[in-house]
Amino acid sequence: MTEASEGGDGRIVTELKRLLAEHQASGLYPSGMEGELVAHVNRLALGPSRDLTDSIGRFESSVRDVATVDFSLERIAPGSTIPGGAAMHRAVGRLVARYIEGVMIQLIEQRQLLVAALEPVSDVLRNVVEQVGSQRQSDFESLTAELTSRIDDLTLSVDQLRRATPGMPVELGPDGEKFVERFRGKARDIREHYRSVAVQLVSDGPVLDIGFGRGEFLDLLASMGVDAFGVEPDEQLVERARARGLHVECGGGLEWLHACEDDSLGAVTLFQVIEHLPAGDSVELIRTAARKIRHGGKLMIETVNPLSLYAFAHAFYTDPTHTRLVHPEFLEFMVEASGFAQSHIEWRSPPPPKDVLEAVPGRDAVAKAINENVSRINRLLFAPQDYLLVAVR
């Protein structure tokens, strides 16, 4: 029915509208008919209860009855069952007629006064009911507005909660790039930092790099001819990496890992990623990686070292998106439990020598004791800031 429909604007709809206008103009429809019908529904929905309206109706009907029922001498039955009684009634009636008429006139006057007194009561009741109805309408509208406003507030709260929840991305907007440059270092330096790691994967393609950030590690792998692809939730970073010709996708690492065929990957790498994830996701990620990496393939996870108090003072808290530190022993346990055949830890990013406590010169017992303590303090305070777990399936 293409012609008739067309989004409600077809030929037949136009005809119907014209017909409606004609009927309205000709007076076939009473003026304000539709408005009255809508108001009728609103009265039923929001107005006084039907019982109350019915009660007022009954009251008005009773008042009308009082006004219309008349007094009449004819309604006084003249008959009698006593022999001669009717004649006696007539005689007595004639004698007292004057008095009865006087009483009846007073009764009629009283009835008129009563009806006159009751009629305004009916108006008052109707007004009160209408006012209650409009008050309910007004209450409903203000309650609806309040509920809408509360839902808007709640939506805002959920959004704020989402942002405040550990593991949720922190929006730094246009400052994000500056932040990464300042706290992660220049891309060139990062590539050099990871070169020794990339070398370990030259025969382990395809490599899935989860959370590739600016893509330095993917650049390194590409330069070494290693088949690799990356996944990153930040769309802008993905676009930039793609523009450089890297094989990348936007999304969550866990989802992409799930989507991979079992035993299809040579390696999975996560550099400075796992400290951003909820604990449950980290565990699931390791278990899933164990299925997706082929026999002999590698899982590499680099993260902030919780054994280094220096890392707390520097690396960990400079990035507000860090959720939690992951203990190396826990990671080792998880990879072992998930079926990886072997694993080891590489300690990385030692604090700058200028920050580390120096040994005192001398070889005597005192110097030896002091240096032993310096060494212990250094291990506690100035341990390497990162560690790299390498697990082989």
């Binding site: 008739a4 539709e34 509920l147 939506t155």
Partner: protein, 359 residues
Amino acid sequence: MTAVHQLLVGASPGDAVTEFALAIRKGLRAAHGRSEMYAFHRDPVLHTDVLPADHESIGDHSVDDILIYHSSIGQPETVQVLDAWRGRIVMYFHNIVPFEYFYPYDPYWASLLALGRMEVTVLRDRAVLTVANSEYSADDLRAVGYDDIHIIPPVSSLYRLRDAVPTPSTLVHLEEHMTYPMILYVGQLLPQKRVDMLIDALHISRTYLGLRPTLMLAGPGRLGRFESLLKNKVRELALPGVHFTGHKNAEDLAALFRHATFLVTASDWESYCVPLVEAMSLGVPIIARATTVVPETLGGAGLQLPADSGAALMAEAFARVANDDELRLSLAESSTARFAELEKLDPVGDFIAAIGSVQ
């Protein structure tokens, strides 16, 4: 093998969401998959078939398992259940009626509808696959940040009414007692469906346009106060020929559709209107206000009145369609043609394929 379960707020026979979920489960089980349905509210008829939506029933599951959440109204326990679900979640959004329609009649129900919208927002980041019942619903999801949305209508059986044998006694009763035209409305008697406008249009067509119509309102009330309002309206307008049939089985519905002069809907808000599809399956003419998802469902079928139409224009449409044989035939043909397009769809198959893409 990955298990694929489904979570519904309510499960009752005849309900479009429930029927679609049952069809999906049948398809998944046919493929030798593990698949259960869980619901917070279960019709007694489905007590053994649909499991209660609690931690004990859902029990142990793997992180690879999938739970399809059918979102159609809020439920305070939903987020708890989904939060405890360690596997993946698929969001099937059937859309949620704007709460304002229900507030005057049932504030609690209104609050559940508002809660439902909140749930949809909260679950956004957990959904590994998002499905909407219509493009209209998909737009609602996009507005709260969802993307990559599959559109699959919840139609489990296009031929439910066409295959049903009309109840003979109902057909005889309709033939002998109903005046012409017999206007059919099918659906729940809920505020957003604007059944009140249908009654007004009937009143106008009878009082001013010379029709002697019958209006069959075939569907359960659900909201006592609103149903009472409709009955009071009919009584106060002293309107003959309006019948509240309550819930009807497929055989009675088939009889009503086959006897109807046309199907009508004045609904303000629909996310997917199954009775329109059922009318088209039987070649029944349709008059509808072109609101929300209605144009998407009807395509080029039916007499689609503008979304802002009132009762008077609808009454004019009643009179025109009832009195114009050629137009009625043309509308019936448009229903049949649109149904032929819908027949090419395989919603259950599409849904199972979409699930397969994340399994």
